[in-house]
């Protein structure tokens, strides 16, 4: 009897959340999957069931393949560099004897409170081929041949965008790691230094293992962050150009859904992006799990 009461109570407690979750997450996500099987313009009428045709088309669409490659590149490069730099900065700020510690902490965190659109516009002008600060400095130093059109060449545009995303995110993850590092017992470091371990060894043998759970989470956060942030940054900075060299999966999806009015096709892209990010999160979770102690 008591058990039944308990179950009822639990059911009752999760009911509101369940309802909201169903309406705002489950229902739209199922709709994405259903709509991906239709050819539709997104205006309600004239929907035609086409089965998996959208997916077949997708894998023949070289812009889509290009955009997936670009997204993959950013997902690989941006989290790796961001998390590495964040860890380094966090440990310097946490263990180093810098008097300006708090100042640096604020400065590094600053980009995280700026809007992505502002960041995009800011960097578009930093990269401006004729009046941007990068090329001005290069020209002043006499390195004219290195003053490239950063956002206009297919060889540099992705790195240029990756740099912006790293710049934006480093401070955020640094603060997360800093919080983690404060929780690592100092005795461990004392004992290690008594045993003759230097700073680098301490970093790899103590700091990283002790922070491992936080690092795991930040890897997944950062991979998914890339997916979302790259959309805004690309739209603002390059509009996918030159010739789709910086097109990412979500900008292409947006373009197909709302500019070209191929809503069903766009939903097929969404399904693929959804599956890929799910698989990636799963893989990164599995890999890091094995290394955890």
């Amino acid at each position: 009897m008591k058990n039944k009461d308990r179950t009822l109570f639990i059911l009752f407690c999760i009911l509101p959340t369940l309802a909201i979750f169903s309406i705002f997450i489950l229902y739209p996500v199922t709709q994405v999957f259903i709509k991906s099987l239709y050819s539709s313009s997104g205006f309600g009428s004239n929907e035609e069931f086409v089965g998996l045709a959208n997916f077949v088309e997708l894998f023949k669409d070289d812009i889509f393949i290009q955009s997936m490659k670009n997204t993959g590149f950013l997902m690989l490069v941006v989290p790796a560099i961001t998390l590495f730099l964040s860890l380094i900065f966090a440990s310097i700020l946490s263990f180093g004897d810098l008097r300006e510690k708090h100042l640096y902490r604020t400065i590094f965190f600053f980009p995280s409170i700026l809007s992505f659109v502002v960041i995009g516009i800011l960097w578009a002008f930093i990269y401006h081929p004729n009046m941007g600060i990068i090329n001005e400095v290069l020209n002043w130093m006499g390195l004219n041949q290195f003053a490239l059109t950063w956002l206009g060449s297919k060889d540099t545009v992705l790195w240029a965008i990756a740099l912006v995303m790293v710049w934006q995110a480093v401070g955020y993850y640094m603060v997360m790691y800093l919080a983690g590092m404060d929780g690592v017992p100092r005795e461990l470091y004392e004992a290690a230094s008594l045993d003759g371990a230097n700073a680098v060894q301490q970093f790899f043998k103590i700091t990283i293992p002790m922070l491992w759970e936080i690092i795991r989470i930040t890897i997944i956060f950062s991979i998914n962050g890339v997916l979302n942030i790259s959309f805004v940054i690309v739209i603002v900075m390059t509009a996918g150009g030159p010739n789709n060299a910086s097109q990412v999966a979500l900008t292409y999806m947006y373009k197909q859904a709302f500019v070209n009015a191929n809503f069903g096709y766009a939903m097929a892209i969404a399904v693929i992006v959804f599956s890929v990010s799910l698989v990636l999160s799963f893989i990164s979770n599995k890999i890091t799990e094995r290394e955890a102690h």
Binding site: F43, G44, E48, H128, G152, G241, N243, N244, F258, V259
Partner: protein, 455 residues
């Protein structure tokens, strides 16, 4: 424990009741709105949604007021917004669209493009067959010749008019008039003459050409007239109606060749053009970094706040032709208006459009938007109000410059590429010398083939 549980249940019950209460309110609200609509038999409400771009919204507000005065008992609600497409999309999907929409097919929201695919318009043929508001002549005779038959207004090639023209745009290349006058530079009439000016451009410390790099669709203003100049209407129709064979012709290669020449000649393309958006490139042009840029008659208004080199003055060149005995060209286009299929008041909406074409309204439009409507003698009626550069554009078109129109046909449904977009996206690769004209044409052949398959 048990009493706590009951308290909790009670609390939830209250919450649920409150929620139900809310939804009741909503229902009630809806009811009253519905009854409002019914009683509107005499008091009709017209919803007008307009794109607020370079032409602002003052004209629409005033026109609505005038229309209300001329039709007592009607109320016109004007919604104007630069992102009007995003605002009306949910209403259209919900089956409750505005009655009159002014939004171009090339708008980034894709709403008009979607409605074209969807055949989501009210047929306007009877409006244009009927009499004009202030004269006893069919309305269609007051519209510029050829406009209503064009693919802009009759997108399905079935002899029916689904869209109504609003302002008339003229596009082509622009230059700094002061520079040309002071240095005694002749404006080029052919592409050869234009390329010959490269050395003059260099002497004056600027590149020959720039364009809106991240928005390469502006190159249409060069390509369409170039194809027309080389191959006539027939070649142009081939290109605009997605005939793959077009890309195998000399005409296509020669027209695309303009861009390859710009890419390959030293000093022809302004450094960094490919990475610049429209504001950045247009500002560079006005600061004297490049001699020519493509744009439309709205240029001066659009860039009113932008920095410029000393004594800068807008000069409209048009688009050079390929042989000296042909007139210089200009591309014209029409701003599009329409009545969505599910509109609540299509008849009143048509009345509103008819009213818009009256001479008084055309004048009002000229005064408030500094532009000419696509009606016969439109630019004369409003000559007093046009900015100098805009007036010069229209005047140039009247005095010997050949204004032609062309718009890519809507793609059949089921085609997931936008051929126009692919066409101009490649320009960046050509400008970066990563693609030849032959490869460009081959790529387009492939894309057009895809469209052909679905026709």
């Amino acid at each position: 424990m048990k009493s706590n549980l009951w308290k909790f249940f009670l609390l939830m019950a209250v919450l649920v009741l409150a929620l139900v209460g809310c939804s009741d309110d909503e229902e009630a609200g809806k009811d009253s709105a519905d009854s409002g609509k019914e009683s509107a038999g005499k008091n009709q409400v017209l919803e007008v949604a307009v794109f607020q771009g370079g032409y602002g919204d003052a004209f629409w507000k005033q026109l609505a007021e005038n229309f209300e005065k001329a039709n007592p008992g009607t109320t016109v609600n004007v919604t104007a917004n630069p992102d009007i497409g995003e605002l009306i999309r949910p209403k259209i999907i919900a089956g409750n669209p505005p009655d009159v929409v002014y939004l171009n097919q090339t708008d980034p929201s894709g709403v008009t493009q979607g409605l074209i695919k969807e055949q989501g318009f009210t047929d306007l043929t009877d409006l244009f067959d009927g009499n004009a508001y202030d004269e006893e002549v069919p309305l269609k005779d007051k519209i510029l010749p050829g406009v209503l038959e064009s693919v802009y207004m009759a997108p399905y090639d079935d002899g029916k008019i689904y869209m109504a023209p609003y302002n008339y745009n003229v596009m082509g290349l622009w230059y700094n008039k002061t520079l040309f006058d002071d240095k005694g530079i002749e404006t080029p009439k052919t592409w050869d003459e234009l390329f010959a000016l490269n050395s003059v451009a260099k002497e004056n410390d600027r590149a020959l050409f720039t364009y809106q790099g991240t928005v390469p669709g502006y190159l249409e203003e060069i390509l369409i007239p170039a194809v027309y100049s080389l191959g006539g209407q027939e070649a142009l129709d081939q290109m605009l109606n997605y005939d793959p064979e077009f890309w195998k012709t000399e005409t296509a290669l020669e027209a695309l060749g303009i861009f390859e020449k710009i890419a390959n000649e030293d000093n022809a393309l302004m450094n960094g053009t490919v990475a610049l958006d429209h504001t950045q490139s247009q500002t560079s042009f006005m600061q004297g970094k490049a001699m020519f840029i493509p744009n439309g008659n709205w240029f001066e208004g659009e860039m009113a706040e932008a920095p410029r080199e000393d004594e800068f003055e807008f000069g409209f060149l048009g688009v050079p032709s390929f042989t000296a005995d042909e007139p210089i060209l200009a591309l014209s286009s029409m701003e599009q208006m329409y009545i969505p299929k599910a509109a609540a008041n299509p008849e009143l909406a048509k009345e509103f459009l008819r009213f818009m074409y009256s001479e008084e309204s055309v004048k009002l439009n000229g005064e408030l938007t500094k532009a000419a409507m696509a009606v016969v003698g439109g630019s004369d009626i409003v000559a007093d109000y046009l900015s100098e550069s805009t007036y010069n554009v229209f005047k140039a078109v009247e005095s010997g410059m050949y204004s032609m129109s062309g718009n890519f046909a809507p793609v059949p449904s089921g085609v997931n590429v936008d051929p126009r977009e692919v066409l101009f996206d490649q320009a960046a690769s050509v400008m970066n010398k990563e693609m030849t004209v032959q490869e460009w044409a081959d790529k387009m052949y492939e894309v057009y083939q895809k469209v052909e398959d679905k026709k």
